[in-house]
Point group: D2
């Protein structure tokens, strides 16, 4: 087992973590600068590291680094990345200097030349494929599963990089939204289930842009055209009139991640063809309908609970107020006095507004409860600030199962909803009432047809694709990956 | 004229800047750690630099640095500041390494020993006093006007530091909320007009805490007791049963800064005896009454416009929505493509939410318009995102005159309201209607009596205290100070 | 072609660069700390980056970083590397943040588990092997040729790591001194020609230490035992009484790098069984015999010319003086005035001592002339400082051919001695006389038998091993490697 | 008592520390760049911090920072310092971020305008003058005694800065070589005893240069003209044909610091009109005459002992060799294994060369013994490396008394020679013989007349100027200063 240096910053926040954002640009003379801006717009999808690869007459050129997009890139660095094709990546926040090895995009040379890839997702059959590749003498140097794709491409017998990418993608199981660059081509791929988002847009100069979310298109003045479809492989070639597209053989019903709507994506993005804001607001409205309560004020756990709280408040006919303020400066862990301050880690990030809360019956809306550690402190803070009653409303169903499709979830056993009933959780976090958005109500938002194209595995434990993976060996792989 | 290195980061934001936050703690064995946390809670008042001075058996010990509180202090650094008395300071964001000389608290040794001070405010008679002191052979090393207080204390003929502080304060004109530490005493002072806030609280172990805002008390579990009164000098001494208090001779009607309620302070603070949140919400409500308009949605320019927007929306009976998202990662200037992206600097910080705006008649609430440069771009962004009409509402009166009481304002000529009528501004920023909160309406919030204790100079040009200072020589002084 | 960010710091020094130093420790509870110290002692062999891998119950753990050993490692980082087996590496100074991918040791996982390697040298058949591996579907991620070894091990059909290492080493051509770690074993390998040094020592607690030079043994109180022989593979296993050893099949006459004696190694090291100091001093003595000249003082170009200069002076019976001082602070490039200062880059590093030089006939001893750019400036500086005559003496033969055995040499065409006769060089650098140590004289130092076991390729152009490599394709490979 | 953050890095080196280097340039359009280079050449006089002040049409501009000259200044920073007059300063290595307040040059504004100063030395009557100034209401902000000069200038009744500088200098007692800049004038001052060096040179374009040592002139192609005389005040004015000069009233016999010749200055400098190299070599020669011993080899403790060792070896007719190597990379403290390595701190900096030492009777030459802690370890290292006998020779007399003239010396009681006879020291450091250069022999180097113009206080305890200062109150002041 290999373990590298990982600084463990317990940030007192009990939230899921998205694992990446990707961007690809073809046909713009400022491809690297636009990628940089697009990555900034996708920064919420990953703060560990960022990288950009461009293609120009010298081949592939790359800059990657640990930190925020604005920290990794300087004007002079971007100037060293000329070319009109680029891909970029932001990576979610674990940390430690030696993690630089995992910052994407990855470049590899093989028989056909050089190719780069940026990946958002998780391969379910990573372990089996890795084992098979290792048996055939492949070695794995980075700890990211993205290296696997490069091996599959290198091992493919197909004659061109494009055919090999198709070949490799057909072998992969799980969640993957990827962009590739090689020669003068940009290729975007989304797995057949379409777990993770990937959209396509166009700038006024004709340049094609792929990105995880539309908010990246907006910042660089690219018009949103459509999603890359589940199972689709879009190829953009220099000198083409347009771009060509093909589909992987396996073509099941899509299983798109409902958490993108409920938590991960920016509210101003269109994800899976829907406004995130609108969808999230509807979650709140329905929640107000199915879990009403007498109250004086509706507040949110900012920022992710805010839009649903607005929906809840509107439906309930109760004023929405800012009952909790989020600090702009609490990125780091704070040094605590030895005379413990209660709920310190949460308090350094969230401050209650007494004048909103005092003497009130408060509904507080959050997007999810993971382990329950933060909810407990929030309820206590609200009471300490004078709330007469605290009613917690969660704008997604109870999470009972780990996600294997590109989200960093605790093991199922650690999820509070897998161990406790709603009533027990209520007692544990000590609120007056607690309600989750029922799964059926959530599906209402999408209607009977569209609702079939989403993944609810974390609420039901029924996984659309599992291969031979059990939670155990997956966990083992994760440990292994983390350990690398 | 002396000029030091100043990095000029035009951050595309057209807002006023507060000039500091202070904290003082007496009688807690962890005085430096609590100061550090209090400064974190006051971080919104200044991001340039931070410092803490403690008193212990070795005398005064200090750590100061450039950057955020969390960057300046580490656990091991705090460990080198034992002692149960401490003062701290955060300084507003200009920049440049050589600015370290200006990071407070300042320590000086003079005949009576050593003394440290942290200051929020601005001395109007700085120039005259400095000239007089220089004529008597004093030298000025730092570029901050805080050095002046130390000189006055040193020059005083009084026998004790305390008497000399009183002596010095009586000579000073302008805005000052200061904390001093010397021997085993902590002294808090607020100028007779009480321009800048300063509150007092107590921890359960009896430790006395002074801070610019109550949000600092909240984070360290100190109970808010009262404001330091305008003109009051509070002395906390070791071994005392309580603290003693005295008043400066000059004792005019208070003139507290109304911008603290409207913009500077955290919504969860109590400032000048009032909930900032509640006050700001009332601004919005009254604004809705005096400047109504047919509309479909009310949005805010986050974060400072949010609470007033909630008030406006509630009063208007129109839904409040998040129409503009603020990026958590846009602290730095962004590198722009050479093919200009319209309104780039604002777009990197604020993203419009199309699904909230499209086809809607939008009221957008902001706290103030300074030069008008940002408002212009916000209106355009909202229209580009589909808003059918854009009605801008400003929750404070038009600003026509510079502030000399501790706020970093542009010169009066640069303030758009000093040059244009409301209608002209409306045309300039191209919104459908524009309205400010009338000054009379603002005063309504406070009622006939209390309203007399606020300063409205920036709305009226009538300064409560000017000494012989005209705008010109003040501007000159500012240039001089900046240049040092 | 792939190009990553490389800062180009022309440091005004016209010297060859060694490409690495390695260390391996087995059986000491503080293996990582001792490795860290050993790497510090080997710092002259590489300043770009440093890394350590340890083995403990959790498997392989690693810390690598860009910079000096003292910059990469802190006490707390070393504390995260427990275990009694470790290997370490220092890498020669190219630069650029993205180069972190190349900082060794490299860890890879393959079918048999995990293995780490640290390498000093250069593989001549890298290109062919890489091409063959790529044809079989291998991919190359790092730009260092060390990745090749890992691929060969992974592809081997042998049953254990040890057998596979042997297998791989038999396939490699060129220069390699390597240490491997896997399971509980430490393996040290030196190529059959023994181009690069590798020694073995033992601490008083029985721990076995391998290092590039004995100066590393000295710092950690390890007793020097012997060299790892050319072609030898030494295996140290836990619980063994001693260590076992085997040899590669190919077992030619050794061809050890004479530049290790003349320039690269520390004077206090024993390299190839000989004291570097003593050998270098003898070079100087013989040079005095074969190239005498009337002179008043002998000086050195510090530090590498000093020991030979002492030898020259002693033999010539002329006083040695410090005629050139080396700055301790000239690590970085200096900013030059626009009114050019003559020979600036050299002057910032070397200062002439006028009182030693004025009016004197000066012999100045250097170890080698590469492109001749620095020599020119040194001669001019000496004359400017008053030297009446300048006689340059080079304590190695003229260098006419590039090295492919682990030394970073310019292409042959750039070597001044490949283009000019000694007399032409003399005129070019404008000294009064110029002499090199003749190759035959150099061999005298070693005697007729031992002299056969050294490589003189850079003086003769006759390469002991070339495979099918010509300079051209080697240069191409180098470009390719640098470009990665 | 005020104490700021000071990192305590015991560097295992038992040497005296010089307290500063200064430079001043008048009449060169690139004054700041040349100052930067001159400071680099003076870097051995101080590594804590560096700063430059220039004069141009905007007034005085300054950049100062903590660290080496090459770390504090970048090309773009130097570009912000236009002007053809500049002064600069390097400060000796204590440390801690908050020490930035002490980095010189200091700028102050007073009645007459702005003035900057850079100072090398130490004021003996600092305490009295400070007390008097404080009684008149002056405050002291920085912890350096240089602030005192600025106060004296500000308090002077004279009409111009120049007259006030003279006035101030007449009040000061002790060691001071200073450069001032104000309006368009550059002023250089050396105290009447001339304790610290200060030279004057000229560039080919007529620019006048002052510097602590001539090595700074050499790097910037300035011709050495003469010393600034003890007690002289040289004024360089714009538009002057030359420069004018005046002398302070007090005009005793000079007492120049003999340690500048023996240890502090660079060997290539001319200091007090003499070649440092030549003088130091003569110390070694005389030492060989007065303290001969049968030996096989003479080595130095590098770098400061090297030149004297060459003199010793030449006179003794015994070969000089490099018996100890100094690491180029041991600037920082090294992390030691818990199983203590003997003499670790010294070993990380100095490595013995066994082939030089083994079986030999070794003379090792050092410049001084301060506390004796390092000498002990050096002797042990030499013996461990095989030396049969170790004879230590010190090229200066025994140091028995602290220096108050600008050198950072331990208190007299800590000096080993103040507590032990030579024989006792010999036993303590365990060498076979030990000899110092007798004071009379040292004086021989200078001859009967010149020898009267040097200070020998550290060898004799007879101080040329003491004011009312005793060692005790001086020590107190030092503590106080350090503590600030």
């Amino acid at each position: 087992m290999i373990t590298a240096q990982v600084a463990n910053e317990d940030d007192g926040e009990d939230k899921l973590h998205e694992e990446c954002g990707v961007v690809g640009i073809h046909g713009d003379p400022e491809a690297s600068r636009l990628s940089y801006l697009a990555l900034h717009a996708l920064q919420h999808r990953g703060q560990e590291g960022a990288g950009i690869v461009t293609v120009n007459h010298k081949g592939l050129e790359s800059i990657t680094g640990v930190g925020l997009v604005s920290e990794v890139f300087t004007e002079s660095k971007l100037n060293t990345l000329p070319g009109d094709i680029a891909i970029g990546h932001v990576r979610y926040s674990t940390s430690g200097a030696s993690m630089l090895k995992n910052v994407q995009p990855f470049i590899a040379t093989c028989k056909l030349g050089s190719l780069a890839v940026a990946h958002n997702g998780n391969f379910l059959n990573y372990k089996q494929l890795k084992r098979k590749l290792e048996e055939n003498g492949s070695i794995f140097i980075a700890s990211s599963d993205t290296e696997l794709v490069l091996h599959l491409i290198a091992k493919s017998k197909a004659k061109t990089f494009l055919l090999r990418i198709i070949d490799a993608c057909e072998k992969l199981r799980g969640a993957f939204s990827m962009v590739f660059v090689f020669e003068d081509k940009l290729v975007a791929v989304r797995d057949p289930f379409g777990f993770r988002p990937l959209v396509m847009g166009r700038r006024s100069n004709g340049a094609v842009v792929f990105a995880s979310e539309t908010c990246a298109l907006d910042l660089i003045d690219a018009r949103y055209e459509r999603e890359v479809c589940p199972g689709e492989i879009v190829v953009v070639d220099r000198g083409d009139v347009g771009e060509s597209s093909m589909f992987m053989v396996s073509h099941p019903e899509p299983k798109q991640c409902v958490f993108e709507h409920g938590y991960f994506s920016q509210p101003n993005s269109i994800v899976f063809g829907r406004s995130v804001y609108e969808t999230r607001r509807m979650y709140g409205e329905i929640l107000a309908t199915v879990a009403p309560v007498e109250c004086d004020v509706v507040i949110a756990v900012p920022d992710s609970g805010t839009v649903a709280a607005l929906g809840y408040a509107a439906k309930a006919g109760v004023p929405f107020q800012i009952g909790l303020l989020r600090s702009h400066y609490a990125k780091r862990t704070f040094i605590e006095p030895t005379q413990k301050i209660r709920d310190f880690a949460v308090k350094a990030k969230l401050s209650p507004v007494r004048s909103v809360l005092e003497g009130k019956r408060v509904v507080v809306v959050d997007d999810s409860i993971v382990r329950g550690t933060t909810s407990l402190k929030i309820v206590r803070m609200l009471r300490d600030a004078g709330a007469k009653q605290v009613h917690m409303r969660i704008a997604l169903p109870p999470m009972i199962a780990s996600c294997y499709y590109g989200v960093d979830t605790p093991r199922s056993q650690e999820l509070i909803s897998s161990k406790m009933s709603v009533e027990k959780i209520r007692k544990h976090i000590n609120c007056d009432t607690l309600a989750f958005l029922p799964l059926d109500s959530l599906k209402q938002v999408y209607g009977p047809v569209e609702s079939r194209s989403y993944c609810y595995a974390c609420f039901t434990g029924k996984y659309p694709v599992t291969e031979t993976e059990t939670e155990e060996n997956n966990a083992e792989r994760e440990r292994e990956l983390n350990a690398l």
